[in-house]
């Protein structure tokens, strides 16, 4: 569009005056020439504006639609991310099972040893109070020997503890993977914002989600409507219902 100050210039005013003079004199060919000049001024501006718009549209399309990164994202990066997250699930599952196995094998050993230690303690107390017969003392000596043998199982407990220790490596691996996926989500977010800007899609009202859907574990930092935080609040809520 022509700005007012671009049309009403001294040159153009002079042209219009000339045009009037030519027409009053009946000089048609000069009048047409001046009219053509004036029209040309308008057309040049119009073509320039259209050219500028076309270039902007082209840039926008090549930055977004024809941009390789979007198709790479859809065809490769997002499926990759899904694989990565599946790997996180399998790594955490593995670590949890390894830990549980070690704990389940250690607990009976600890239980046995602590029970036997308690029995030996009681017998030893009787011995120091001179309440044991010679036979009972011989039995106690044998039990003590067996207990020392049995305490070799502590080596197994130590191995299990080492196994639990090593299982924690999942935190490092899964942490790195999840960080990558977080970055990817950020990139997708940027692209989507770009798309919304180009298409001029209206801002959607923020959604509160479906009230009846299951939310799963609450995540610190994310707002949750009408949820409790922790067992104490659950207990308070239930007791307010007469539980």
């Amino acid at each position: 569009m022509l700005e007012d100050n671009e049309l009403i210039t001294d040159d153009n005013i002079a042209r219009v005056r000339d045009l009037l003079v030519c027409m009053e004199k009946g000089n048609e060919s000069d009048a047409i020439e001046i009219i053509d000049e004036l029209t040309a001024i308008r057309e040049t501006e119009l073509y320039q504006d259209m050219g500028k718009l076309t270039r902007e549209l082209h840039d926008a399309i090549s930055n977004f639609g024809i941009d390789d990164s979007v198709s790479i994202m859809a065809e490769q990066t997002i499926p990759d991310a899904r694989e990565r997250l599946n790997y996180v699930i399998s790594k955490t599952d593995e670590a949890a099972n390894q830990t549980l196995e070690a704990v389940e094998e250690s607990i009976p050993i600890c239980n046995d040893l602590s029970e036997q230690a308690l029995e030996l303690h009681n017998s030893w107390k009787k011995f120091t109070e001179r309440e044991l017969s010679a036979d009972q003392f011989r039995a106690l000596s044998k039990d003590i020997y067996l207990y020392f043998e049995k305490s070799n199982d502590l080596v197994k407990v130590k191995d299990h503890l080492t196994s639990i220790l090593l299982a924690q490596e999942y935190q490092d691996l899964t942490g790195q993977i999840i960080k990558k996926v977080i970055n990817l989500v950020g990139e997708v977010e940027d692209k989507l914002i770009g798309l919304i800007k180009i298409t001029g899609a209206p801002q959607l009202a923020s959604s509160d989600g479906d009230a009846s859907s299951l939310d799963g574990p609450p995540v610190p930092g994310l707002a949750h409507k009408d949820t409790v935080t922790g067992q104490d609040e659950v207990d308070d809520l239930l007791s307010s219902l007469g539980f």
Binding site: A96, N97, L100, E104, L214, V228, Q231, V234, L237
Partner: protein, 123 residues
């Protein structure tokens, strides 16, 4: 005391089973959702049901409702152990007749307290 532990994650079932064993409950069975749990309950003469809420197949809340609707099962105490923390859901579980509601993550002590509370009411 025979207990059925229902959770779709095997690790969570193992954790609960180990905690129960620590509390002296050795007779536990496992199921991974409501659909597998319900037939077990009908034939197994269980004294307590410990269930998660969010599971594929049949969810814990539907299992609870099915138990309460069954003439032979309706008196089994049900303890829900779940990550669901919406007030609306806790109220729904209470109305459906849950006997205890534990939110994850939980401790051995909380499990012990809730079980004692459930058994104290029965006796």
């Amino acid at each position: 005391m025979k207990i059925l532990v229902v959770d779709d994650f095997s690790t969570m079932r193992r954790i609960i089973k180990n905690l129960l064993r620590d509390l002296g409950f050795n007779n536990t069975s496992e199921a991974d959702d409501g659909l597998t749990a319900l037939p077990m309950l009908k034939t197994g003469k269980f004294d307590l049901l410990v269930t998660d809420w969010n599971m594929p197949g049949m969810q814990g809340i539907d299992l609870l409702k099915a138990v309460r609707a069954d003439e032979n099962l309706k008196n089994i105490p049900v303890l829900m152990v779940t990550a669901e923390q919406k007030k609306e859901q806790i109220v729904e579980a209470a109305q459906a007749g849950v006997n205890g509601y534990i939110v994850k993550p939980f401790t051995a002590l909380i499990l012990k307290e809730k079980l004692e509370k459930i058994f104290a009411r029965i006796e």
